[in-house]
């Protein structure tokens, strides 16, 4: 308790700062748990049915709905590997997503850094970016295809990933994070002789690890789940990304229910893994938020 009285020092905050939050402004723990459990239950309910059907392939329209899975078996998961060239599609998706993530992290951070400066036309750029957000993809299908064709990137990994190389939402997440870094810190770094690039790499990015983590998570998911654009731009069946395999599980002539849900669950897993990995940065952020102070 006495540590609270001291002026915060970087070292003590790094070690203890995280723990002190609860006592200062959180609700009683049991209340938090109850609320979160309730919310978790509501959120998991539909997901439970997806999971259950992926193991049983049962008809969900049977009445009354059964909570317990009937004859669960993992064969639908095995089926998905054979219905479509799963490994090949997985590889393609990974390549495209890696391209997208790296480009995103780099380009978005650069753009956000530029937006922390004051320059003529800044508000115009911000307005432009916000406006570009308001253009849904469905309205750009044909021109995007024509443009990609002109660049000569049809049916290529780069062509699939290119429209997702930068995302405006993530630029603003970075910007919010960069803006929160006190200028005094940056000034100090400049005085120490660091170049612009080093300032970004050594000061701003490390202090914005939660923004980087968010960017990685979001750009991965948007690229991984991207369905319509790869569908339009990929011609070679072996270049297809994972979501495009979906049609095989939506057959009119055969019952592919279990396999469909198994497929959806398998496509979901990498996104969750990335989230779990990147989540740690949200904790780092907790302590580095203190360092910002």
């Amino acid at each position: 308790m006495s540590q609270n009285m001291q002026p915060p020092s970087v070292k003590s905050l790094l070690s203890n700062g995280a723990k002190k939050r609860t006592s200062s402004h959180a609700l009683p723990t049991w209340l938090l748990h109850i609320s979160l459990l309730l919310i978790s239950f509501c959120l998991l309910l539909p997901f439970y049915w997806v999971l259950k059907t992926s193991f049983t392939g049962e008809n969900i329209f049977i009445y009354p709905p059964s909570l317990i899975p009937q004859d669960p078996h993992p064969f639908f998961y095995i089926d998905t590997w054979y219905y479509i060239p799963f490994a090949r599609y997985l590889f393609n998706s990974v390549v495209v997503s890696v391209l997208a993530i790296v480009a995103n992290v780099v380009f978005n951070a650069m753009a956000a850094y530029a937006l922390t400066k004051h320059f003529k036309g800044k508000s115009l750029v911000i307005t432009l970016l916000l406006s570009c957000l308001m253009i849904p993809f469905q309205t750009t299908i044909v021109p995007a295809y024509l443009i990609t064709g002109k660049i000569g990137l049809l049916n290529s990994y780069l062509g699939v990933a290119l429209p997702t190389f930068s995302t405006i939402v993530c630029i603003f997440i970075y910007k919010a994070s960069f803006d929160a870094i006190p200028t005094s810190l940056i000034e100090a770094a400049r005085i120490d002789g660091l170049s612009e690039l080093q300032v970004i790499l050594k000061i701003m990015i490390p202090l914005s690890s939660s923004a980087v983590a968010s960017n990685v998570i979001l750009s991965f998911i948007w690229s991984w789940n991207n369905f319509l654009w790869p569908l339009i731009v990929i011609r070679d069946p072996l270049m297809q990304t994972l979501p495009l395999g979906l049609s095989r599980f939506l057959s009119y002539h055969e019952n592919t229910t279990g396999a469909l849900y198994a497929f959806c669950t398998m496509v979901l897993v990498p996104g969750i893994i990335i989230f779990l990995m990147a989540q740690k940065e949200f904790i780092r952020g907790l302590t580095s938020g203190a360092t910002k102070g």
Binding site: R235, S247, S251
Partner: protein, 422 residues
């Protein structure tokens, strides 16, 4: 923090290597095209990959100077893909469409008129059931060949019939409504129909209601009889006779509901049988009844094969079409996918075989070839999708309780006439 950055650097190096590798791969695979090339785009039939590979191999023997490419898109994305390709100037040479989509393209000049080809190769025309072949005629021009065909029929849950004390199948519309109401109880409903692509239209046609005047220029459905029919449908929907999913469902829900054994009757086309059977262990010839709808009217929902106007090799495309609709290949398709292809000879052998191997499926498919002179819901309208869009929401308004039958039909008439340019 260090670990995060080491991962980051690793990612960057991985990326560089990946890009380099992929670029190398790409440049090597895009060989200069010396061959002629045709492509064919199919509608949601990716499970038949093997068959198409066989098609391509066979065609290579006929025309070794031609490379064939297969593309497949499922329904909702099909028009987006095809239209993008058309605008980009690279339409697939052959397209397979479902239902009425071909009309939009044919009427706008997007499909090649196949009539001259059919005249030149008269034996091709003779292969097909003429009623089905006629499904793809617009302004006296033939635009497509049958790929595989289907039309609506009635499926009956005999167990539910017995429970409700009903015997025999309904013979007319009134009985249809009566039976459905009798079977409605709790979670069980009497009847379900598919609603996309005019598949529900037999319910009106069996009462003598016409959508348009004989010259297809004006709406003709706002009649007292039609109001009566719609009123009956509203009443049945309200008392559970007709499952509400009939009016808003697409494929999975209606068929899933029937497969669950909760629905007395289902109006759907033949593929539904195979989808349902996979989910319904209760189905056998004692529990499932199969018949034409009362009056014999059925809406076709067939798949056709046509040639894009922008194709650079229409003659080669025609050769390909000739091959895939020949008896050998239609038989193979029928065998693999349990569909009929309107190729008279092949359908006969398919059905003969199936009666021995899978009698219930055979009775289902048999209905597809019966009473093909009573096809309805397939008007040759250039504005087919717009008319659907003008008409069907008003039906929904009526059956789901927002408007009275009279109001709905009146509003629908105004809208349809507007689309027709009246």
């Amino acid at each position: 923090m260090q670990r995060f950055f080491i991962r980051f650097r690793e990612l960057v190096s991985c990326l560089t290597i990946t890009i380099a590798a992929c670029s190398a791969l790409l440049w090597s695979t895009s060989a200069v095209a010396q061959q002629k090339k045709i492509s064919f785009l199919t509608w949601n039939i990716s499970d038949q990959e093997e068959l198409f590979k066989e098609w391509i191999a066979e065609f290579k023997k006929i025309r070794p100077d031609v490379d064939v490419e297969w593309l497949d898109k499922k329904g909702p994305e099909f028009p987006a893909y095809y239209q993008t390709q058309v605008i980009a100037g690279t339409p697939p040479d052959i397209i397979n469409t479902q239902g009425g989509l071909w009309l939009e393209y044919a009427a706008a000049g997007g499909l090649v008129d196949l009539t001259p080809y059919l005249t030149k190769d008269a034996e091709v025309r003779k292969r097909f059931n003429s009623d089905y072949l006629g499904s793809w005629v617009y302004e006296s021009k033939n635009y497509m060949l049958p790929f595989y065909i289907s039309k609506t029929l009635m499926f009956y849950n005999k167990t539910m019939f017995k429970e409700a004390g009903l015997s025999g199948s309904p013979q007319n519309f009134e009985q249809l409504m009566d039976f459905s109401t009798k079977m409605a109880k709790g979670e069980k409903t009497g009847m379900l129909t598919l609603n996309f692509d005019w598949l529900y239209w037999s319910l009106f046609k069996m009462n003598g209601v016409e959508l348009l005047t004989a010259d297809n220029k004006k709406a003709a459905f706002n009649t007292p009889k039609a109001v009566q029919v719609l009123d009956a449908l509203i009443k049945a929907t309200n008392n559970g006779g007709i499952n509400k999913v009939s009016w808003t469902g697409r494929w999975v829900e209606p068929n899933g509901a029937f497969a669950a054994g909760n629905v007395g009757m289902l109006q759907a086309h033949s593929p539904a049988f195979f989808f349902i059977r996979g989910q319904a262990p209760w189905i056998n010839s004692n529990t499932l009844g199969v018949a034409q709808a009362p009056g014999g009217w059925a809406t076709p929902n067939s798949h056709g094969l046509g040639i894009s106007k922008g194709s650079k090799n229409p003659d080669i495309a025609w050769e390909f079409l000739k091959m895939v609709t020949s008896q050998k290949w239609t038989e193979r398709l029928s065998e693999r996918r349990k569909v009929l292809t309107a190729n008279i000879a092949s359908d006969k052998t398919t059905l003969d075989k199936m009666h021995k191997q899978d009698p219930l499926a055979a009775t289902v498919l048999q209905t597809q070839l019966e009473q093909t002179d009573k096809l309805t819901g397939n008007w040759p309208l250039a504005n087919d999708s717009r008319i659907k869009e003008a008409f069907y929401p008003e039906i929904q308004n009526a059956v789901l309780g927002r408007k009275t039958a009279a109001e709905a039909l009146k509003d629908a008439e105004t809208k349809v006439n507007r689309v027709l340019g009246f």
